[in-house]
Amino acid sequence: MKNMVFREIEGKSVGYYVLLAGLALFTLLGLLAAHYMETNGHHVTGMTNQVVWGIPHVFAVFLIVAASGALNVASIGSVFGKSMYKPLAPLSGVLSVALLAGGLTVLMLDLGRADRVIVAMTHYNFRSVFAWNVFLYSGFVGLVAIYLWAQMEQRMKPYTKAAGVAAFIWRLLLTTGTGSIFGFLVARALYDSALFAPMFIIMSFSYGLAIYILVLMAAYGWTGRPLGDGVLLRLKGLLAVFVAAVLYFVAVYHMTNLYYAEHRAAEHFILVDGGVNTQVFWIGQILLGSVLPLVILFHPSAGKSRRSIALASVLVILGGLAQMYVTIVGGQAWPLDLFPGMQQSSSFYDGVIHSYHASVPEVFLGLGGVAIAGLIVVFAIKVLRLLPDSLGDDVVDVHHGAKAVAKPA
């Protein structure tokens, strides 16, 4: 077992500044999009009184779900004692806070009255899942900050496990809260299921790890630091298990709905004749986002290639966005059934499938959230000692782990 040195990346290359500038540009475009929506009103978006949440929510919820999942790598190290994961923990913590910040920014900037966001912190309705989430999100950032401090400050080391356990329990609560946003909607056929809470938790494991793998590969690849197969193959094995678990939950969710006669028509819409929703479900979520990554990750030779692991991670992320689209937009596209057994029509679009066409500003607002998360991570790894000098096979023993020591750059 060797001592491990954590060091900031140099961050002086042209590539680093180009990356930083690119992310800053998308952040700026996202902010401009939000300003445009705020000053003109939401009629400039594709969101309507029928589909009230759109692409910004697809990105926001995806980022928030992925945020809690990104912390898992750290949790496996400090909560479950797997020492191989301990050197991976600081990046895991920063990535989770960054993703949460990106997601929440999108959510807040999409509000009809984003200027009143402070009201959400001065007026609480404790029956609202949204109000619980205000505490769950801020508490998460606080706990992860303490957890990072415990990992990075020698005097705080004894508290690492306690902080890790607290953060782990909190992140389970947080994703329960996010899933319950949809689970508690009693009147809509495609929501109203307690399954949303555990399904969102396992989705977070999958999305968060896929993002973590890509960030880790990029950080090590672009800085020329060694990243051994040992670490990567362990992570990709874990990702495959998570992707399969998400698929299991998705199957149970749809099977349950199919069993209820009252939900069959809505299920038929998503699975068979929902147009773009059906395509995004089968092609995006299931084929590209779940089956193909599983085939790649379990393949005896492709599963060991870095390029393939990166491709599988990208597919899991795209599949996650597809799943969010089907959940959020598809779920609203199916009309409310006020009078079961009756054909319904009105000037307010009762009884018809609700269409949604995302506008350019909405897409840029969503991408802006991703860029904010990226900016935070890219900046953090330059100023904080988050990454071990080497995660090479000679340093990390996947069976026994390595001893981590922080040293100045």
């Binding site: 003109n40 009103g41 969101m47 009184n49 949440w53 009809g112 009201v119 959400a120 319904q344 307010f348």
Partner: protein, 244 residues
């Protein structure tokens, strides 16, 4: 010093009081009759305002209730995907029997409203007398209430709003819905849709106090079979339907 004529003063005093009494009495009586609420008194939970909609009396081609609501509340009357519609006419057709009917649909003023449950700031709230409202000052425009409402009763203001009517607050970026014409109700009047329906000669909407067993609405509900839309959700709606 001249002596004060106390009897004259007494006469003037009593006279003035009697005149004032005469002047105020009809107003007080009217308010009492119509269950109106003086501005300085809080809303009472002794009253539960509600409506009974008789689909048998509602005419398919008539949308006077919608027009009256738009006029009363300063809505454009537009029916685009992002226009506000506080009340709409729904046409229903039984898929087996082919029986058709028409009825107005709006906020059902639930006793257990899902919109107030999910609202993070408490902007969606239920008054003690059962009227469900949105406080436009603390609505942040998250639209979670619109996701939660089983009746698709709420609209989001997606366009800038100008020339709002006094007492009918509306604003861009906030959510709005039928207020049961709360200002009219507090003044002892009936909601605009109810009056418009009566003026059209249909009288398909009856407004009144569900807690008062002697009110017209309570008597009708006691006598005829009525239903709550999506009664399975257990929301205890303030709007009931007959003939559906």
């Amino acid at each position: 010093m001249s002596e004060v004529n106390t009897s004259r003063r007494q006469f003037l005093g009593w006279g003035t009081a009697a005149m004032a009494g005469l002047a105020i009495a009809p107003g007080v009586t009217l308010i009492d009759l119509a269950h109106g609420k003086p501005d300085d008194q809080p809303v009472s939970s002794k009253v539960r305002w509600g409506m009974l909609i008789d689909a048998n009396q509602c005419h398919s081609g008539c949308s006077d209730c919608v027009t009256a609501c738009n006029k009363e509340n300063g809505l454009s009357g537009g029916t685009g995907p992002d226009d506000s519609q506080w009340i709409r006419k729904m046409d229903l057709k039984d898929t087996h029997s082919g029986r058709v009917m028409s009825l107005p649909m709006m906020c059902q003023h639930c006793g257990n409203p899902p919109c107030t449950d999910v609202c993070p700031t408490g902007a969606s709230f239920k008054r003690a007398d059962g009227i469900v409202l949105v406080d436009r000052h603390i609505c942040i425009g998250c639209r979670y209430c619109m996701m939660a409402c089983p009746y698709k009763a709420r609209s989001f203001v997606a366009h800038p709003v100008t020339d709002q009517k006094p007492g009918r607050p509306r604003g861009i970026g906030t959510v709005e819905a039928c207020t049961m014409c709360v200002e009219r109700v507090d003044a002892g009047l009936k909601p605009a849709c109810v009056d418009a329906c009566a003026a059209a000669g249909h009288e398909a909407i009856i407004f009144g106090d569900l807690n008062d067993p002697n009110s017209d609405i309570s008597k009708r509900i006691a006598e005829y079979t009525t239903k709550q839309v999506r009664a399975d959700l257990g929301l205890d709606t303030g709007v009931r339907y007959q003939g559906v």
